[in-house]
């Protein structure tokens, strides 16, 4: 007679013991025990697999919930920032318009220096209108990108010219902030891109470099490599902590607290969308208090 031992992941019955058993009934019993043991082990394994799958589903669910929570937080932050950003120029505009109405009264026109004051106030009005327009354009871009109706109009353009035009527009701001900006673009960088959109990307990078550059020098370079044109904007400012670097290209990203710097936190996200839609890529290399280097690579 075969002495069978079954339990705790161990079964001494094998096919050979079943076949070698002389008593047909005992052989049948041994096989039954063996099959029962195997079926229970299989069911146990199936249950363990199902539990593991359930754990995965639970983890995925928790992750999705966390993503959703973060998305809701980001949306709420965005709404708060957008409201603040829109309210600030509007308040300034309202105040300026009040000032402008007063000198328009007949007795005020003759006051000494009245026209000069009015011109200065109008220039301030223009700046605030421009700021509001930029915010609205940024929000429209987000709307187009998320709706999938964002389109590029590529045409032949020299990347070097785009960079120069952007820097020309920033000339006054650069002078006012006493930041030294050097440009290294010795050769033409012709390609077929949407000039207005690439302008938008570079504008964002230069604007960020001025905002977060802590007044230190900024270097801009344009070069052509084997199959791509490369623009590099480097500042020596506050930099970005390593754990934040992956987030800065996300929508509503803001590494620095909103109270310190204006904007909706959408610029780099829009820039990345434009660069990717152009077949290129944008990347950052940064260290806190040492500065950031943004590199845009566009296919030729």
């Amino acid at each position: 007679m075969h002495l069978a031992e079954i339990g705790a992941g161990r079964c001494t019955i094998t096919d050979d013991t079943v076949v070698s058993e002389r008593d047909p009934e005992m052989s049948q019993v041994l096989l039954g025990l063996l099959v029962l043991y195997e079926d229970l082990s299989y069911a146990s394994q199936q249950r363990a697999d199902a539990e593991a799958a359930l754990r995965l589903v639970a983890e995925e669910r928790a992750r999705l919930l966390e993503d959703r929570r973060q998305a809701v937080t980001a949306r709420d932050q965005f709404l708060a920032v957008a409201a603040h950003e829109l309210r600030t120029p509007l308040a300034t505009l309202a105040l300026l318009v009040d000032y402008l109405i007063v000198p328009m009264a007949p007795h005020s026109k003759t006051e000494p220096g009245g026209v000069v004051v009015q011109m200065r106030q109008l220039a301030m009005v223009k700046r605030q209108v421009d700021r509001l327009t930029a915010l609205v354009v940024e929000m429209l871009d987000v709307s187009r990108i998320t709706r999938g109706s964002f389109q590029l109009n590529p045409a032949p353009v020299d990347l070097r010219d785009v960079v120069r035009e952007v820097l020309d527009r920033f000339d006054l701001e650069i002078q006012r902030s006493h930041v030294r900006v050097t440009v290294n673009a010795p050769d033409p960088a012709p390609g077929i891109w949407d000039a207005a959109r690439i302008d938008q990307v570079i504008t964002n990078l230069i604007s960020n470099a001025l905002k977060y550059g802590a007044g230190r020098p900024i270097e801009v370079s344009v070069r052509v490599e084997a199959s791509q044109a490369v623009v590099v904007v480097r500042d020596h400012g506050i930099g970005i902590p390593e754990d934040e670097q992956s987030k800065i290209f996300g929508p509503f990203a803001r590494v620095v607290a909103a109270k310190h710097h204006v904007g909706l936190g959408l610029g780099l996200w829009i820039a990345q969308q434009i660069v990717q839609a152009s077949g290129g890529r944008i990347k950052v290399d940064s260290r806190p208090e040492q500065g950031s280097t943004f590199t845009v690579e566009l296919p030729l």
Binding site: L31, V35, E38
Partner: protein
């Protein structure tokens, strides 16, 4: 084609799948044969029973022979697949005759399977010819 002594899975070629399906055939009117593979798998069980069902499509009742002469004992996963297929066709089965040759292990396995599934219209035979003969008798011929 010659099938190898290994379990066949979803990665099998069309020729292999066809050769597996061909192991199910018609012996006589309303009598079918399953010539079981040496090494069965849930995949091969499904392929063979798909062909089996196609062959028996027009018959409300039929008998069949399963030849286990060359077969090895199926693993728990394959047994589960086999049970599901056998239970699915069992309402239309008049008789099941199993040929086991001198395969003692499969003889015991067939008995255990029939008993475990509550099948009463099952006989076990030494040869395929005997099994076919028994199905003919069961069909009243």
């Amino acid at each position: 084609m010659e099938l190898e002594q290994r379990p066949y899975g979803p990665g099998s070629t069309r020729e292999e799948s066809e050769a597996i399906a061909d192991r199910a055939s018609v012996v006589d009117d309303r009598i079918l044969l399953i010539d079981e593979l040496p090494v069965q798998s849930p995949f091969s069980v499904k392929i063979m029973f798909d062909r089996f069902r196609a062959l028996a499509h027009d018959w409300d009742r039929f008998a069949y022979v399963v030849d286990l002469t060359e077969a090895k004992r199926p693993n728990p996963e394959t047994r589960a697949a086999l049970k599901a297929q056998i239970l699915d066709i069992s309402p239309r089965v008049t008789h099941l005759a199993v040929a086991v040759g001198d395969n003692l292990l499969m003889r015991a396995m067939a008995r255990l399977f029939a008993y475990g599934m509550g099948l009463t219209n099952v006989t076990i035979h030494a040869t395929r010819a005997e099994a076919i003969e028994e199905t003919r008798r069961a069909m009243g011929r």
